[in-house]
């Protein structure tokens, strides 16, 4: 406990350096802006910034990324409430009650409960991260290659099963990512794999180029082909900027409940920050004294989900920093950024790069405070970003994507990848294939393969080693359960239905 506190203080020393504070401010401003704007999220922003941030010290870069991560959550809620336009997927639920409140002239109170709830949950989440992460890291020291492989298999299956509308689509997306990650020279044997004789493919497919193209180009192609944008209509910020006494009384419990739901789900592989918002909303609706108010602007329906998504954002950093396990597209790009600096997240990161880890955690506290101060008074200004005409918004995103792709290596081959991945992103969007499993597969695939091959090398090719330790056996059993449970449930449901039909038939036509 004492050493954790001392480490955190050391982190604050780094995070409070003037240049790092400036970068935290830049990150929070940028994060809020991209949270407000459609078509661009934290994963894409961080990926586009990577060529620039590699010129900075890793601590400074990650302090900025932490600001972007939290800022996007705040920005997303602002547009959800005032425009019924969720800038981020984790703010979809906020729009249900928040926008209704705004239409009833209570937009300011909705923004306030969202911002304060986010601050409370973000701060509690960061405190939990501060004390839980070292414990997780200690636990991770006991993990060998078999346990790591099993953990990655579990992450793959849960991410594929949870994201998107169908498991098959989720698994296909994951496999596409895994298929891309094997292209290039095999790091263990030096053999060329799936390069089709092209020297351009020897170094593999660059992760950031695929990410930028899937998100930015794919989204732009989808919007241009399938939508007709209409001008946004702003709801007035009437009703005073501050919350009433009754609003406080109705908000504090949902904030805490949202935190309790959000943080642990964020830690889980495939938790992400969307699922807890839906759970929090459902719970608040169930616990509400007047459930009929839900759908007509219940403040609990804003306070709970907003707290849940910020607590989950702190939660997702636990598996990333302690195990090197990304559970969302944004954490996948953060892992890629760490790898770009030659750092591998995991328990050793806390030993070898303690300054980096603790300055990131300290910057989360600072970023949260900055966002609270910035967002409450500036909400009206942020939302005006949406008045940027759609043609210029998407043309601007495309131009910056070109900087991100061309700036990496100045290679025409990368521009071809941009076109192909952009088209793939378009089709994935049209036919509802989730993008996150592809990215997680692509970034985690090489590590999973490495651990699999190390395990099999230890056992001289005997695959039973994968279930030889209790931890790996349990993790693989859970992964199997995730895959097989819907099939089993379907068979059970069919049998139950058949029995019920037989019982009904017998009772109607007794022999």
């Amino acid at each position: 406990m004492t050493s954790t506190f001392a480490n955190l203080m050391g982190g604050f020393e780094t995070a409070l350096l003037p240049f790092n504070l400036l970068m935290a401010l830049v990150g929070t401003l940028l994060g809020t802006a991209i949270g407000v704007l459609p078509g661009i999220g934290p994963a894409l922003t961080i990926a586009l910034l990577l060529p620039v941030t590699f010129q900075l010290a890793p601590e400074t870069a990650f302090i900025m990324f932490a600001g972007i991560l939290y800022g996007a959550m705040y920005g997303g809620s602002t547009t959800s409430i005032l425009l019924n336009t969720p800038g981020e997927s984790s703010s979809i639920v906020t729009a249900i009650e928040g926008n209704r409140m705004a239409r009833n002239g209570r937009g300011a109170a909705a923004l306030a409960t969202a911002a304060i709830g986010s601050f409370v949950a973000g701060t509690i989440g960061t405190v939990l991260l501060t004390f839980l992460a070292p414990a997780f890291a200690e636990l991770a020291f006991t993990f060998g290659p078999t346990e790591y492989f099993a953990l990655m298999v579990l992450a793959f299956t849960t991410i594929s099963a949870v994201m998107g509308t169908s498991r098959t689509r989720g698994f296909t997306s994951l496999l596409l990512g895994l298929a891309l990650c094997v292209i290039g020279i095999d790091s263990q044997t030096g053999a060329q794999r799936m390069t089709f004789g092209s020297p351009n493919l020897l170094d593999g497919i660059p992760f950031t180029i695929v990410l930028v193209s899937l998100f930015a180009i794919g989204e732009m192609l989808y919007i241009v082909a399938h939508t007709k944008p209409s001008a946004p209509s702003l709801n007035p910020l009437s009703g005073g900027l501050w919350m009433r006494k009754s609003d406080w009384q109705r908000s504090w419990r949902p904030w805490l409940r949202g935190t309790v739901i959000g943080f642990p789900i964020g830690i889980l592989p495939a938790g992400g920050s969307e699922v807890p918002t839906f759970l929090s909303y459902a719970l608040e609706k169930k616990l509400a004294g007047t459930p009929s108010e839900f759908g007509n602007g219940a403040i609990e329906g804003v306070a709970g989900p907003e707290a849940a998504n910020n607590a989950a954002t702190a939660g997702v950093l636990v598996p990333l920093l302690t195990l090197g396990l990304p559970t969302s597209a944004t954490t996948a790009v953060l892992l890629s950024a760490l790898q770009g600096y030659g750092l591998q997240p995991g328990p050793l990161l806390f030993v070898n790069n303690a300054t980096l880890v603790w300055s990131i955690i300290a910057s989360l506290f600072i970023g949260n405070l900055m966002l609270l101060v910035l967002n409450l008074p500036l909400a009206g200004i942020w939302v005006r970003l949406l008045l940027i005409p759609r043609p210029y918004l998407y043309a601007g995103i495309t131009t910056f994507s070109l900087v991100g792709v061309w700036g990496v290596s100045g290679s025409v081959f990368d521009l071809r990848i941009m076109l192909a991945a952009g088209l793939a992103g378009y089709f994935m969007r049209v036919y509802d294939f989730p993008v996150a499993p592809l990215l997680v597969g692509m970034i985690l695939g090489p590590l999973a393969e490495q651990h699999l091959r190390r395990s099999l090398a230890i056992s001289q090719g005997d695959p039973s080693i994968l279930i030889s330790s209790p931890i790996s056996a349990v993790l693989l059993a859970l992964a199997a359960l995730v895959i097989l449970s819907p099939l089993v449930l379907k068979v059970v449901a069919r049998k139950t239905q058949k029995t019920a039909v037989e019982v009904v038939a017998t009772s109607v036509n007794p022999k």
């Binding site: 459609p38 060529p51 620039v52 010129q55 425009l83 336009t85 509308t165 169908s166 098959t168 698994f171 296909t172 496999l175 895994l178 298929a179 094997v182 095999d186 263990q188 044997t189 053999a191 794999r193 799936m194 180009i217 732009m220 192609l221 919007i223 241009v224 082909a225 399938h226 939508t227 007709k228 944008p229 209409s230 946004p232 005409p389 043609p391 210029y392 998407y394 043309a395 601007g396 495309t398 131009t399 070109l402 900087v403 061309w406 700036g407 025409v412 521009l415 076109l419 088209l423 969007r429 036919y431 509802d432 393969e449 699999l452 091959r453 099999l456 090398a457 056992s459 090719g461 005997d462």
Partner: protein, 160 residues
């Protein structure tokens, strides 16, 4: 809407084809190794097989209509049927850097893309959009160069 768009079984076929390519690629690689037990081909084989399995399931699933499965468009925007001309214009814009980048450089290429994308989104102020694109791309070129990101020559044809 045509049946192949409403029932996109061909997506599953494409996944099966990709899985087959990966399986073929794996067959050219060693599946075992005397040192580590498994060779560089085993992971590729597993992926190829899994892709084919997913592809087969997708063919069955997507033979049914998925018209309503497509993700919702951004809120506040009305979803419309597929608009071919804007899509092709935007696609050409994204493809054009492959031909233009090395000869005309980043600022001009990005300005052209900017104007083409705005055109695809319905803007008809071509000269204005080109000017906005040129200002944005030139500023980006100078700022990113200052930040240490190399975006090539400003105007390669003029050796600038």
């Amino acid at each position: 809407m045509t049946s192949w768009l409403r029932r996109p079984w061909w997506v599953g076929v494409a996944i099966i084809a990709m899985g087959s390519v990966w399986l073929y690629g794996a067959s050219t690689l060693s599946q075992s190794s005397s040192i580590s037990g498994v060779g560089p081909g085993i992971f590729v084989t597993l992926i190829g097989v899994a892709l084919i399995v997913c592809g087969v399931v997708l063919v069955f699933q997507m033979s049914r209509s998925v018209d309503d499965l497509a993700a919702p468009a951004e809120e506040g925007a009305g979803k419309t049927p597929f608009q071919a001309v804007p899509f092709v214009t935007a696609l050409v814009a994204v493809a054009s850097p492959m031909l233009l980048m090395t000869s005309v450089g980043f600022p001009l290429t990005a300005a052209l893309i900017f104007a083409a994308v705005t055109h695809a989104f319905g803007s008809r102020r071509i000269l204005f959009d080109l000017a906005v694109g040129a200002v944005l791309s030139s500023t980006s070129w100078f700022v990113f160069r200052w930040l240490g990101v190399e975006l090539g020559s400003f105007l390669p044809l003029l050796r600038l």
